[in-house]
Symmetry: C3
Subunit: 660 residues, 3 copies
């Protein structure tokens, strides 16, 4: 992490003509110093069972060495060759939708012994080759690993053993999972029916948790193999990703990333964000916050868009803005996916730095500008750290819970899922220039934060609730939302006053909730936009000491608290009893955060301000213009420009960095 | 039926803690006098094949006896235990969507001999227990029984035998079903292909009719078992339900309820209606009318919502209004589903009287108010009867027909189905305070009614047409709509003038129809809302004696009759050649009904007026305010208030009952 | 082709009563001279395996002879009888959606040897009967033949052999199909995975091409059988159809019609067009242009709507307008589907000439008017030919390409597909009264045309590109759109400047493209409607000699060319870098076509003008009023009216024909 890495995933195996030398010349000219290779081409490295051919890989590594490019090698296990699928027909994942058909990547059962055998063999054979090359700075384990919804008899057998171990007594499981409902009780763990038919969210949700554990196990297993070939100083990473909501937005539901990150030495992630006219940068901020949280430091953006998918082509200036935004969030690496657009008829329109004509273009030229600046500022900008006062808690089990029980009438398609509520809050922090870390529901110590935000922390186990209570008692602040602490980790709903274990902390309770039917949101405290209204969910909250800072007004229900604040112990707790618009949220948080110990900067989106500490202890400030208009800029007089001289105003999509 | 029953379904087997004593104390305090138990918990009563454990059931019945609560016991056959699904893998229904997976309720093939064997055994073992308890006032057979779309080889074999018996000659079937179409003719009944592939609505529709017959057979079979344990005075019932259109709205397509009702001694039904801001009560009126029609008298509402599904939480006052609305329609029982909200992760958000905290709440308190009033008025209000002048005919085969041939261009999703058209008419009657009965297309004697309404009676067999003609000839009135009497009971379209057999009755015919493309609806007779327009369907009707009371005006088609009236014999017949808005329908019916022998009261929704005759012969009138506003009330001076003293105005969601 | 054929498909086998004599009497009275019979009734002709019964067919042919009706006999192979499906369970097509279930037509695997055996036997047995009847003027092979997505092991085995033959070397295939992507490379053709799982559009698209070839093979094979029974002068035809977009609109994706037309002696087609308030006639023009192009002359409309599907009932006058429109496009036959509406419960609402009452109706009466006029003008109007200056190229492989890679962001549903873009251009030509021919991408000689239009010619093989270049060089004109010449025939994207091989011809290139985000369309040359904007796709085009006649203006991208014109060799080339509204297209083409050698008539839709040459060399002009208003008409004084006397104005939906 002592220099900024900048580059692209590189796939010479896909190119329609031999041009490696020219490619790398062009990369060097653009200031690239990194490529990622090899992770997608198992059928190239092992065209027949047991016949290996690493000629192209050797040629690539040798060429990279000549060009001074660093290389991250990816283990090629996420896309299996046809012969492997033919050898073991049951290697294809048997899922909720039935048996996968060979063709797409990530179509296999990652618990299959044949898959594991061939994975290990190809990794070992490849790493015997790559260990010889000095340009190789490390390895990426697999690629965006998921459980691929494996529901094979093998996987479900492992799951039944897991349950037997977890509960011991089958009656304990029956009780905890509420299997009496609709006569689902079993007399033995072996009697458990196929998870794919269940309507019991405790059982179904536990299987999701078990599937996430398979990912952790798999990556740890790959790491143990890679360890045999690792040189001192080489890194091991993985490209963690996010929930896909048209782009990377929210918590990846299929991986316990905090657990799985134990398999790597440095966190990596893939950030595909909204672009062009929809670019706001909030996914860059969110993704970076997740990645920083995994191992607690700087991270690698292993994939992000260059031209990106159709309709994502960045406006002039946006590519540079995006690159510096990653760095401002603490990234030590910006790597595009991918170098050249694909001529093959698959992902052909997810375009790389180069277009299909493989010639320099405006995207390439803007990369070169970034490359020049990255090289110049590498010492200053590599490995930045953050000192944020705010943490946002994510919870896979809550995500599962809201998936089974969305915030809408049954039979309707929910407008928003867990990630949407998460991004609703994180997006507002982003716009208010309140930087945040991400913490996980498995963590218990939040003492370094002034404020812990709990978006829809639906499935809260007792120890976590206790930890939160203690944290507030000791002077911390929390901001909870509707549907928090409603069930335990098995989605079993608590049978006392809601929010369970936190009624004294929040100073309120409720025993009924319903749809707000457009109830007006009113406040004497916050400067709400006209016409603000509650949406999605409304708890009929009864105050037990808290103060209502905003209220819901409904023609039939009358007034109920919408936003409350309460002192508890030495700390404080705010609560949202309903959802409302992003604009209203901005107004609420602007007024509320100071009461929760968090000052709000005066700058507002589209002018983003990001602060970080350099490795030398220097304080850096990034000013990022997320608009196509020129913005006035008011930089402290004693701050030194890094991209000098910086203007008195920020041009469209412009970037200014100061030190001190 | 000599007292009002009031209570809830009660599931101690689901509760997260032991609190039966407290539950029943609370029930008694709320004026509950009834619980329904046991129907969902087969895996609790028989945790292993042949091992029975009725401890909890005994405890429940004993406790109910101590508390003076009546109990309806449900046979526990609608949700099979895992061991039974494991024992016979083919017990799971093989449907149009393939084999069901174990998990949800009602997933089995109800023709499976193994299912029947185990049903009978568990029923007998349970009733040996329950027969001992005086608190048990009767039994509910199964629960909302359906055919679950069984298409097993066994079921289809039975269907082929059914067809062989029905037609005798295979050529007769080929002809009647039009199997020549696309070469589907068969040489023998055994050659009939899997119904799941058919595009022939005669064949597919007949299978639907056969599936409905399976339900009747199953309930009659259960009744024969229950008979062996029945004490004098005990009732047998079943909770019939309705088509689900986001709530119970329309004819249940999968059951011939009139047939199936032969299995019970008193009709029961489940009414889940629109709620909160969408509450109109029309589903309460409709469901009650269906239930009254089944056995011709008072009925039990075996399930209805307390807090209900998400977004259904009743506004203050609505729960009481709903309870009295059921009674006003003739219900002798209002039973909530269910006592306590479910903590298990299944239907957890379909909330009961109690919320998850199991403490008294506003819903419980409003129940207690109802309980007090029900107790007070029980003698007066139990077992009311109706003397309606209007009947609305329902037809499962017409429903099937409109399902195969909806009122829209092919490839488009129809806006409305059969039940929507049915509710369109019934909703208007509801708003106009014209009370109606429901009759079935299997019935032939309508002489007790002034008016018989035929909503989209698409599939009308010849004898029914003759009966209708005779009814009008003898002085009755009918109101028919577009798409009536178009096909016979096998969806075979009649090949003479439409509406078949009724052209002389309606005094019109048509040979073409099309989409109305927004044709204007005009009338000199009715006070139509501005901008009234035809929708969905337009018959190009030619008058043969009828008078056009409203016309469709289309820029290219010109004017065609929309609403017509005709004298036939000693009676009269009105016809709608098109659909139009509910508001226009209200105006049309208001003007038209008097010409059809039916006076229209002067009160209008949201003020509902319902009349009934008490067991002692007294005339009762219910005034129900279906709005959140106070309404003026004009009660005859000689009517005696039952909830005394009644105000000169009706408060929001208020209820007034008078006698005399 | 020496007289106009007019009639209907006739299905006595479906009729609910015997009325053949009456039917044919009515036909004759309406001026019908043609029926098509027998193609749908295999189970009638062969009720049991090997038992044939052509009694009804003989009766029909004898009756037709008595009535002087010509008959086209269809081979009855598109709808198999139940016994055949039972005999060979694997005869049912195994498709992307799994194994078909018997019931609908066209559900079988047309490569199945059992299917072929029984096809041949029933055809030979039937033609042995029909050869005896003088009224039989020819045969229709099968019915709207498609591959029915057969993916059986047999079909895929044939496909692997086809690929082995095509590529010889497996590595050549790996390279060309880009199978390295996601490790899909194979070591042998036998290792190729099931096409149904592929994500590789080269492989998937080639299978589509192979499926289209199956159709050609099948029709050629049927032709070889029919040849054994053909009398001199008898015709062989097939009813080719079109992509179904709610009606026939665009290129039928599943058939190479130009190839398949080798199986017939006269082209036939089925044209179901928009109707009533949506009638524009553009599908009549398009379908006719395709049919004319197949064998280069007049054609038969073997099916078109009478009353048609629900909501299609023609306004008074439209049926006649439609009939003459077909003739104006060169049709020698207008045959309705079908004579009588179906009483059987299948396609019952796709109504024929007669309604279900089988009595004369307004549709029948309008047919009779047409029949009278057709008889009168038959000599003049039969077998017209066209001398169009404009050709529009269609390309099945481009259609496949746009199917895999639609013009929208991934995950979104594309608004428009290939056929929509095709109809966008053809619709505008239709409205501007610029008549066009259709040519196929397999053709190379376009010298008879002034202008060749290339709508989204995505997959352009090198020889076609060379032919286009040569055509322009020699003085021809082309009009190309966005996404043209982007990939080769295997959807492999060209890796040099776009549009590949045509940058010099169009005088421009581009290396990036994106969504236009509503960029304004501006022009000093064209009279664009206010608010014209780009849609769907925007190429960031750089001019290399071309002139921009219209530009795209985007607030962030600035201005880019939208419509360009360039001289190349002795010809010229225009290019559309974006899509825009139909109204804007009308304005652009009106201004642009003259520069491309094509004059634009002054008449505009809804007044259509169509010109044709009669067999005697006379020049005919059709004036067709596609509106419900009376239009002024300005006919040259020396033109002689055929439907005399013609008025000075065209009545709603009116037709005028002049000669000379």
């Amino acid at each position: 992490m002592d220099k900024l890495l900048y580059g692209a995933a590189y796939y010479p195996e896909y190119e329609p003509c031999q041009r490696m030398e020219e490619d790398m010349d062009m990369m060097v000219r653009a200031g690239f110093n990194l490529i990622r290779v090899a992770e997608s081409a198992w059928s190239t490295w092992e065209p027949r069972d047991g016949e290996f051919d690493f000629t192209l890989l050797r040629r690539t590594l040798a060429c990279a060495e000549r060009h001074g490019l660093s290389v991250i090698v990816g283990t090629p296990t996420y896309a299996i060759p046809p012969w492997l699928a033919k050898k073991y027909p049951d290697i294809l994942a048997d899922t909720h939708r039935g048996r996968a058909i060979y063709g797409p990547r990530q179509c296999y059962d990652l618990t299959h012994p044949g898959y594991r055998f061939h994975c290990e063999r190809v990794i070992r054979r490849m790493l015997e080759v790559t260990r010889e090359y000095g340009c190789v700075i490390g390895y990426q384990l697999d690629n965006e690993t998921k459980p691929y919804d494996t529901c094979s008899e093998r996987a479900q057998g492992m799951f039944r053993e897991y349950l037997r171990e977890k509960f011991g007594d089958v009656e304990a499981m029956n009780r905890e999972f509420g299997f009496a409902y609709w006569s689902n009780s079993v007399a033995d763990f072996d009697e458990l029916p196929d998870v794919r038919g269940t309507v019991n969210a405790s059982y179904g949700g536990e299987y999701s948790a078990f599937q996430r554990r398979l990912v952790t196990d798999f990556l740890l297993w790959q790491r143990s193999i890679v360890n045999d070939y690792l040189r001192p100083g080489q890194l091991v990473t993985h490209n963690f990703d996010f929930e896909w909501r048209g782009c990377c937005a929210g918590l990846q539901p299929d991986v316990d990333q905090l657990e799985a990150a134990r398999a790597v030495t440095v966190a990596g992630c893939d950030i595909y964000h909204k672009a062009a006219g929809e670019l706001t940068g909030e996914e860059i901020t969110f993704g970076g916050s997740v990645a920083r949280g995994l191992l607690g430091g700087s991270y690698l953006v292993l994939e992000t868009q260059a031209q990106g998918n159709f309709s994502w082509l960045p406006y002039p200036g946006q590519l540079r803005l995006q690159a510096f935004s990653h760095v401002a969030n603490g990234a030590a690496c910006v790597e595009y996916w991918h170098w050249h657009s694909i001529h093959n008829a698959c992902e052909s329109y997810w375009k790389g730095v180069l277009s299909h004509d493989l010639a320099p273009n405006d995207t390439y030229r803007e990369c070169a500008e970034v490359g020049r600046e990255f090289a110049e500022l590498s010492d200053k900008l590599a490995g930045l750290s953050k000192e944020n006062r705010v943490a946002v808690m994510v919870s896979s089990r809550s995500q599962t819970g809201l998936g089974w029980f969305p915030s809408c009438a049954p039979g309707k398609t929910p407008d928003k899922n867990y990630s949407d509520y998460l991004m609703w809050l994180c997006g507002s922090l982003h716009r208010l220039n309140v930087e945040y870390d991400i913490v996980w529901d498995a963590q218990r110590d939040f003492s370094r934060y002034e404020l812990l935000i709990l978006p829809c922390l639906y499935a809260a186990p007792e120890p976590l609730i206790a930890a939160i209570r203690d944290y507030v008692g000791a002077g911390g602040h929390i901001l909870g939302t509707f549907r928090t602490a409603f069930s335990n980790e098995h989605l079993k709903i608590y049978h006392d006053a809601q929010p369970h274990g936190l009624t004294e902390v929040f100073g309120l309770t409720y025993d009924r909730f319903t749809a707000p039917e457009g109830a007006a949101l009113r406040s004497d405290v916050f400067d709400l936009p006209r016409g603000s209204a509650a949406s999605d969910w409304m708890e009929l909250t009864e105050l037990r000491g808290a103060e209502a800072l905003a209220t819901l007004e409904h023609p039939r229900w009358g007034a109920y608290p919408a936003v409350t604040l309460h002192s508890f112990g030495r700390g404080g707790a705010a609560y949202f009893a309903s959802c409302f618009s992003p604009e209203a949220l901005d107004a609420v948080l602007e007024g509320l955060l100071p009461s929760l110990g968090v000052p709000v900067p005066r700058e507002r989106y589209p002018l983003l301000v990001r602060r970080a500490r350099a490795r030398d202890g220097g304080k850096l400030t990034f000013y990022l213009n997320y608009s196509g208009e020129t913005l006035p800029l008011d930089v402290p007089p004693d701050a030194a420009p890094l991209l000098c001289p910086y203007p008195a105003c920020l041009p469209p999509w412009g970037v200014v960095i100061t030190e001190g």
